[in-house]
């Protein structure tokens, strides 16, 4: 009986190799900031924030977390349970 052949390039190894190659490429480049600090005035305005009022966002997040199956990746923690 033949021994099972090793996979030439398992998926995780390929992903790791690609990530290492990308890091190597980035390390080789010197990326200059293409938007200079003095060009960022508009970005500093409150209307450009993803989250403006932490307490308000926390309440909305809690209302949604106890009613929807999805959770996470919003940058806000709804906290506690309140679901019994």
């Amino acid at each position: 009986m033949n021994a099972p052949r090793a996979t030439v390039c398992p998926r995780s190894a390929c992903v790791l190799a690609a990530a290492l190659a990308l890091v190597g490429l980035l390390a080789g480049c010197s990326i200059a900031p293409w938007v200079k600090p003095y060009e960022r005035e508009r970005l500093a305005d409150p209307i450009m924030k993803f989250s403006r009022d932490a307490l308000s966002d926390k309440h909305f997040e809690h209302v949604r977390e106890v009613r929807e199956g999805a959770r996470g990746a919003t940058g806000v923690q709804g906290g506690g349970c309140g679901c019994n």
Partner: protein, 390 residues
């Protein structure tokens, strides 16, 4: 802070002194080389210090929140205070109260309406060093039959000249699960891992990508809720482990007329086979110098968990009729208004804020046992709050 900011000045003074010495003694090479090296080092250090990440603004918020939908009403006050110390550390504390009156469809068809109160306290500490920010926080939430404690850390670092901010976070939580008349009888543990990046794309466009994995272990259901098997009510049986992942992409753009447009998308999947998508579009605009208005539209859709059933036709190891795990859609339309009531530039600002959202939930596999129709309901969310920055 003081030692760090004095160092570039000191190096610059040595740089000048060495240049003068090199010019006077005609020994240009070693003195000039040393002078240039010190000059470059001073420049790097001063640039690094100038680009430091800022601490969150000192502020205080007092809010009243209200939710009414599907027979459940929850309301109460919430307070948040944040104050920086010595420009290096910012301390924050919040208190949140939820007074719940529950007569939801589960309750009216299988149990008795009830009232209870949930209290939550959160303490946080933010620390910044150069281009990095570290936040540690702890929270405690308690209600008569459920307690939840958590501790977390978040680290963010600006890279590529402040164009990109990468962030990492971890939260560990411990819950105790109880039941009226029995007391606390079980527990649940949670692990949350966060990874994110915010990118400045142009002088007017920001983008962010966030990923979060959450793992749970323990009692993950409700001791009061029942499932239906062959039409008979049985206690629900949920798996004791769950792992979920979410990926969220956001983009926000300045439109040029003191207004901005944003778009968000989140995809969620977990080991209970729930899949969901969330889409949100928002528009913000200033009206004069004192008013800021927002409007947004949110759409959410999910596919049910593997062991969810409205009325199971077979005996299975796990069974649930929890609406949160069913297939449903929801639409939300919301608006926010902020009015600057008092502003003393450089000192403080007081704002009056209001938020209102109307949402509709439509379930495709959850039956209203009172009339046999597919269940749906409307919800209203209201917030009124005063915020002061100083």
């Amino acid at each position: 802070m003081a030692a760090t900011s004095r160092l570039p000045v000191l190096l610059a003074q040595w740089h000048q002194a060495l240049l003068a010495l090199a010019a006077r003694r005609r020994m240009r090479l070693p003195y000039a080389a040393a002078a240039h090296m010190l000059g470059v080092l001073a420049g790097l250090l001063s640039a690094g210090a100038a680009r430091a990440v800022e601490l969150p603004e000192d502020r205080a918020d007092v809010m009243y929140h209200y939710y009414d939908g599907g027979g459940t009403k929850a309301s109460g006050p919430a307070v948040l205070v944040r104050k920086s110390l010595a420009d290096k550390v910012s301390l924050s504390g919040s208190y949140y109260l939820d007074m719940v009156s529950n007569a939801s469809i589960d309750v009216v068809t299988t149990a008795s309406p009830y009232k209870e109160t949930r209290r939550e306290e959160v303490l946080g500490l933010d620390y910044v060093y150069r281009d990095a920010a570290i936040t540690v926080s702890a929270s405690n939430s308690s209600e008569p039959d459920y307690t939840a404690k958590s501790a977390g850390i978040d680290v963010s670092q600006e890279v590529f000249g402040g164009l990109t901010t990468v962030s990492l976070g971890y939260t560990r939580a411990w819950d105790k699960v109880g039941q009226k008349g029995i007391g606390f009888f079980d527990a649940a543990k949670h692990w949350r891992y966060r990874l994110g990046a915010t990118q400045i794309l142009t002088p007017r466009i920001l983008m962010s990508a966030n990923f979060e994995a959450v793992s749970d272990d323990g009692f993950l259901g409700s001791p009061y809720r029942v499932a239906r098997v062959f039409g008979a009510a049985v206690p629900e049986r949920n798996p004791r482990t769950r792992t979920s992942r979410s990926l969220m992409l956001r983009v926000i753009g300045d439109l040029g007329s003191r207004d901005a447009l944003r778009a968000e998308y989140r995809y969620f999947w977990d080991t209970w086979d729930i899949r969901s998508s969330t889409v949100e579009f928002g528009y913000s605009r200033y009206f004069g110098d004192l008013w800021l208005g927002d409007a947004y539209l949110r759409y959410y859709k999910q596919a049910h968990a593997l062991f969810y059933s409205d009325n199971a036709q077979a005996e299975t190891l796990y069974i649930s009729r929890n609406r949160q795990l069913s297939s449903f859609k929801s639409y939300g339309l919301g608006t926010r208004v902020a009015y600057s009531a008092k502003r003393v530039p450089g000192k403080y600002e007081i704002k009056l804020n209001g938020a209102l959202e109307r949402a509709r939930f439509t379930f495709s596999d959850f039956t209203d046992l009172r009339d046999g129709s597919k269940y749906s309901y409307d919800a209203t969310i209201v917030q009124v709050f005063v915020s002061a920055t100083f």
